[in-house]
């Protein structure tokens, strides 16, 4: 007969004391706890991010998705070396973000009253990003159809798309009921964010953006390189879920 395992219960106690489960972007642990005697610990602890699922749009309609992909390719056009925003997954990134806690404004202060303020007081809209996108993309297509003969944004030639964006940026392309300029800023920010965020979120596919700029990714140790001045770091990027090098 094998002998006793002395940790069996201690660790159960640790589990009871600890319970450190957190949820992505969110919520703190569910339960208040009293901690004394030793640091909490549970096996398999942590709240790693979950990978954005491949497949159909989660937030956008098909039309919205097409517009978003077209916007992504205008903001980050493909070139000979690096894919554009569409193929890098930036529209997917925005879609998954809008379908998730960000789109729902989870954790933000959303109590009324909603009053207009100065720019320095920050956004005060009653609508969250998801609703903003929905309305703005619809308005964008309406605007394009009116101006370019019943063609939605996605169906415009590249030059016209760029023209629309330039005018949006200047505030010259009006979206009915929507502040086109701030929507433009939002889209540019979100698409570029998706381009540079970890590929786990749907954009930056195959770490194309990181390869483009020479960013080595989610590493944790440059101790051997901090004093090697003006020498290019030799290793390819790695994401939260690893890199091709991790596989035989």
């Amino acid at each position: 007969m094998k002998s006793s395992n002395p940790t069996w219960f201690v660790i159960r106690r640790r589990e009871f004391l600890a319970g450190t489960a957190m949820f992505l972007f969110g919520a703190t642990r569910v339960r208040a706890a009293t901690i004394a005697g030793q640091l909490p610990w549970t096996p398999n602890a942590g709240a790693p991010p979950s990978r954005a699922k491949l497949g159909p749009w989660e937030f956008f309609t098909g039309e919205e998705g097409r517009a978003m992909e077209a916007l992504a390719d205008c903001i980050i056009p493909p070139d000979a070396e690096t894919p554009g925003g569409k193929d890098a997954g930036c529209a997917v990134f925005v879609d998954r973000q809008l379908a998730g806690p960000y789109g729902r404004r989870e954790g933000l202060y959303v109590r009324p009253p909603f009053q207009a303020g100065t720019k320095s007081q920050g956004p005060q809209s009653e609508k969250g990003p998801a609703q903003h996108y929905r309305e703005a993309l619809a308005a964008l297509d309406r605007g394009c159809k009116a101006k370019y003969g019943e063609r939605p944004f996605a169906d415009l030639p590249v030059a016209d798309k760029d023209e629309v964006l330039r005018e949006l940026e200047k505030g010259d392309f009006k979206l009915d009921g929507i502040d086109g300029q701030s929507f433009f800023e939002q889209v540019v920010k979100d698409v570029q964010m998706g381009f540079f965020a970890d590929p786990i979120y749907g954009g930056n596919r195959d770490m194309v953006a990181w390869k483009m700029i020479g960013y080595p990714g989610a590493r944790y140790n440059y101790l051997d390189w901090v004093s090697r001045h003006n020498e290019r770091f030799p290793l390819p990027p790695v994401g939260i879920t690893g890199s091709a090098q991790w596989t035989r």
Partner: protein, 415 residues
Amino acid sequence: MPNSRKPVFLIAVLLTLLTVSPAFTGEPDPQEFTQIEHGRYLATAADCISCHTIPGSKPFAGGRAIETPFGNIISANLTPDLDTGIGAWSDEAFDAAVRKGIGRHGGFLYPAMPYTAYAKLSRDDVLAIRAYLGSIEPVRNNVPPTSLPFPFNIRSGMRLWNALYFDRSEFKHDPSKSAEWNRGAYLVDGPAHCGACHTAKTFLGGDKTDQYLQGSYLQGWYAPNITNDKRLGLGNWTVEDIDAYLKTGHNRITAATGPMAEAVSLSTSHMTNKDTKAIATYLKSLPGKTESVAPLPKNSATMVAGGAIYRDQCSACHGLDGRGVANLFPAIADASGARSNDPTTSIRIVLRGARSVATAREPTSPGMPSYSWQLDDTQVADVLNYIRNSWGGAASPVEAKDVSHVRSDTAARGD
């Protein structure tokens, strides 16, 4: 299926009083001071409190389920409570339980109670432990009976087991060795019962004496080789390294986690410096069984992938050179435990993470994160192969199926 036959010691509860020694009912005679202190020290060295206490409950009140491959065994109440503890036991009965594995009324105990090791103690040692236990607060705690499934519920079967595996002899001083060595041997084989975890067991749970302290699998962990074996054991450790490990749970090479964390916390860290040094001296004298193994080729696929994972995911703590930070991050380049033939513990730590023990001298108790969500079975095998076969080390290859096995085996464990 579980049998309802009541263990002998429960019947004993009904027959309360036979011989009550007033010295053991919670009011020690102050003149017993020396004996009680001796007993307290031995009880600590023997780590009685660990199995006989449900953490967070009253010490020594028993009732803790001890996991064995044959089922859970419930530990006894060692407090001097007359009805439910050992207050009413005679000295003879206590000695027989501790050193012979005989219950109070003649039935056999299971060797989850390490009487096979405690047999090395002298009768005076045992009575000192009893004197100490008699001095603690009596707790009324009627522990539930142990009920192992058939055939292990037939306690008389232990007669045969004892005949096979139980050496009843007390510790014998070896005059050819130093006093320190002898003390170490006594502690290792007697109260500290190191072999309970570190010596491999037969299918019946008896010691494989030819593999003495060369490592053993138990309860989802692999307790490593603690002989002086250079590759797998403590061959690269100095006496000071062993001493520091036992006293603090940490040293320049490694850190205690899992079952050893509790052994350090409750037992070895409370030993005198002399005793931890004695244990070290004894362990360093054990030759082990050195086999030579060739390292995996550096350019093999598993080593290349493992090296990339190591660089990206491990080196921030354990160092690009595998040397870690003394007393904080194990120097896995030197940690022979990582190269054990049975990689269970390494796999388990990579998958589930671990926290090292906190002690008064090393309170940091640094933790290792869990990689179970990030690395698949092959990747865990690869990174372990890299760790086990780099920096001059060599070990048998870890396969994805080994990882898969530990993953499923530990899935339901709370530890």
